[in-house]
């Protein structure tokens, strides 16, 4: 019912990302007994930024967030908040607030008292707090629910109360621990917009923990992709998607083809790679790959063209093995000697004359593929 009536911001200002560093993690590690949860990570989060920590479960993203909040002490390293070293400052004296995964609404207080709680801790009287609480309730569109208890609210409503409670103190940064994880799909999409609007509106730094790559990509200014306690890549959503730093990042975000190959020739800034019986050209990158090295070639399905009409940089012959209709597109799977390649083709442009086991030409452009050392293949996330 009320989920549909969402906060609408008519007057969205430009994002206020600045160059000023708000939160800095320097060589931070966290060890639990014999398990390394976070392994020597460095982060530099800018003021006003929507920064996401993205990774599969158990990658250390929540632990990192809890260390910033002060709920967990780092085993090594330093944490700076607004230029001050807060490594040893307890959570209750840090100027950051958290929206917890299951909201952690106090069950013995109604909504109004829940939002008053952080103000009460700052010895602000109820009367003084009232207008601020009113404003927060309005911000999250929950003004009519001030006297409700947690168990009388839906998941989405609890989520918004948790948000209001964390924001009422106007913290330097808001930490969000998978806040949309427990909501159903449609509500999650709607809440993404709400969160993003509020963040832009208030200009507060958001640090957002999620395992949902779509969520991270659509909402963030920058994303840190984490794997087993380390940060594999920090960059804009565009960088993360189009220039993944590792096969792990490449496989974790979106769909990706991986093909084994061997470098047979080195040119000025290109490499000739042999995949199956074909020779293709690849761009050199930060990995120092030499002639004779085994490599892993990665390319997004939407960048692999089937029966291209234009001349592409790389073209190979492949056997068509499968076409899957997926609504707005078709997924076309083809086989070459050294593996499978899938392509995604918009539904309306699929050439329906394709027959199974037909030998067809597929191709891609040099800048759309990336190569990695073969040793990194083990980090590919395979959900199959």
């Amino acid at each position: 019912m009320d989920e549909n009536k969402l906060y609408i911001n008519n007057n969205i200002p430009e994002a206020r990302v600045t160059e000023e560093t708000q939160i800095k993690l320097m060589a931070v590690s966290k060890v639990f007994q014999d398990f390394i949860a976070v392994d020597n990570i460095n982060l530099d989060i800018k003021k006003g930024e929507f920064f996401s920590l993205l990774g599969p479960s158990g990658c250390g993203k929540t632990t990192t967030l809890r260390m910033i909040a002060g709920l967990e002490n780092p085993s090594a390293g330093r944490i700076m908040l607004g230029g001050k070293d807060v490594t040893t400052i307890p959570a209750y004296r840090r100027d950051v607030n958290t929206v917890f995964q299951d909201y952690a609404i106090f069950p013995h207080m109604h909504v109004w008292d829940n939002i008053y709680f952080p103000l009460k801790m700052r010895k602000i009287s109820r009367r003084e707090a009232a207008p601020r609480i009113e404003r927060m309730l309005k911000l999250v569109n929950m003004s009519d629910y001030a006297k409700r208890f947690s168990h009388q609210l839906s998941g989405g409503q609890r989520q918004r109360i948790a948000l209001a409670r964390a924001l009422v103190n106007e913290p330097e940064a808001l930490l969000l621990d998978e806040p949309l994880g427990a909501l159903d799909f449609k509500l999650r999409i709607a809440m993404q917009t709400v969160l993003k609007d509020i963040q832009k509106d208030l200009g507060i730094t958001f640090i957002y923990v999620t395992h949902d790559q779509t969520e991270a990509i659509t909402m963030s200014d920058r994303i840190a992709v984490m794997r087993q306690g380390v940060v594999d890549q920090i960059g804009s959503p565009d960088d993360i998607y189009n220039k993944p730093a590792t096969p792990f990042v490449a496989s974790f975000i979106g769909e990706m083809n991986f093909i084994d190959g061997t470098v047979i020739k080195e040119l000025a800034d290109e490499l000739i790679v042999k995949i199956g019986g074909f020779e293709v050209t690849c761009k050199k990158n930060e990995y120092n790959i030499k002639t004779g090295d085994d490599v892993l070639l990665s390319i997004r399905p939407e960048k692999v063209y089937v029966k291209p009409s234009d001349i592409l940089d790389n073209e190979v012959k492949a056997t068509l093995s499968r076409i899957v209709f997926r609504g707005d597109n078709y997924q076309v799977t083809t086989n070459i000697d050294s593996g499978e390649l899938t392509s995604v083709i918009a539904s309306k442009s699929l050439d329906i004359s394709l027959n199974s086991n037909e030998l067809i030409t597929i191709g891609w452009n040099v800048e759309d593929a990336r190569i990695f050392p073969i040793e990194l293949k083990k980090y590919i996330i395979n959900y199959k």
Binding site: A69, G70, L71, P90, A91, Y92, R93, V96, N97, T98, F100, Q101, D102, A104, F106, P107, H108, H110, F117, P118, K120, M121, R122, F149, S150, H151, Q152, R165, A166, N169
Partner: protein, 295 residues
């Protein structure tokens, strides 16, 4: 559509019938064990003793006697006061214990839990006698004080007074306070504590504003249990109370024993039963705050 609806209705009906049948044994059991004796006692309280006979008459003279003779209601008041003191002291001792074991201990939590409830495995009488040997003239305290040279003669102030009764009843009540408090405290989700700290509450303020209010249902249950135990007890006052420590329970017990006045004993018992029930209902209303862990 209508068919499935009917089917669902029938299923629900069957389910209701099933749960009704399943409920029969417990109802019969409750009826025999609890309701019938209480009812028989209620009937008894309106009869009359004459010599060594209980007459089959209906009279409210037993109840009138309670109000006419101030000994009884004064004793009842005193017993309430003592039971209240027992509950309060059991909570003062039991709360920190329950808090420490449920929220601070990790490895030895179960061991401590077992140790604290171990006294429940020992006979009630044995534990009372144990306190006599601690408090008595040749008891632990006196022997220790004598050996230390603090006193020359054994002190008799430890035994046969109200304090010794309250002390021993408190000891008896601690496990009954500890168990519900432990359960309530252990149930508090850690993320609420994290949220409180995150929102600016120090450890002390987290306790006052979050942990304590959320432990209230356990506190009330513990209070009620220890209150009932203390209010109705007659063995501890008889063993350790002397004249000063006598409680209402002793008088009720005496009516069924030496005085052989069952109707009057039943009336006295029923008065206690009624007042205690009122007190407990009030405590229940006060203690069951809406919203706590309701999912």
């Amino acid at each position: 559509m209508a068919l499935t609806k009917n089917l669902a209705k029938q299923k629900l009906k069957e389910k209701k019938q099933k749960s009704f049948i399943a409920g029969i044994p417990i109802t019969v059991w409750l009826f025999i064990i609890v309701l019938v004796p209480v009812f028989l006692m209620f009937v008894m309280s309106f009869r009359q003793k004459s010599g060594y006979e209980i007459l089959n008459v209906f009279t409210i003279s037993n109840y009138l006697e309670f109000f006419r003779n101030d000994t009884f209601w004064r004793l009842l008041l005193k017993s309430f006061r003592m039971a209240f003191m027992v509950s309060i002291s059991a909570i003062i001792t039991g709360y920190p214990l329950a808090y420490f074991v449920s929220r601070r201990l990790r490895r030895f939590r179960n061991l401590f839990y077992m140790l604290i409830i171990t006294p429940l495995w020992v006979s009630y009488l044995v534990r009372i006698i144990a306190w006599r040997t601690i408090l008595g003239n040749r008891g632990l305290i006196n022997t220790a004080l004598l050996n230390l040279g603090i006193i020359k003669e054994p002190l008799s102030i430890f035994l046969y007074n109200q304090a010794s009764v309250v002390l021993t009843l408190t000891y008896i009540a601690i496990p009954f306070v500890f168990i519900p408090l432990y359960t309530a405290l252990e149930k508090i989700p850690n993320n609420l504590i994290d949220a409180a700290r995150d929102l600016g509450a120090s450890e002390a303020r987290t306790f006052i504003n979050v942990i304590f209010p959320l432990s209230l249902p356990g506190l009330v249950t513990g209070f009620m249990l220890s209150f009932i135990i203390a209010l109705g007890d007659y063995i501890i006052p008889a063993q350790l109370g002397g004249n000063a420590g006598i409680m209402y329970g002793n008088v009720v017990w005496a009516q069924f024993g030496g005085a052989f006045n069952w109707p009057f004993g039943a009336a006295l018992g029923f008065i206690l039963f009624f007042i205690a029930a009122v007190v407990l209902v009030i405590a229940q209303i006060f203690g069951s705050k809406e919203g706590i862990f309701a999912e």
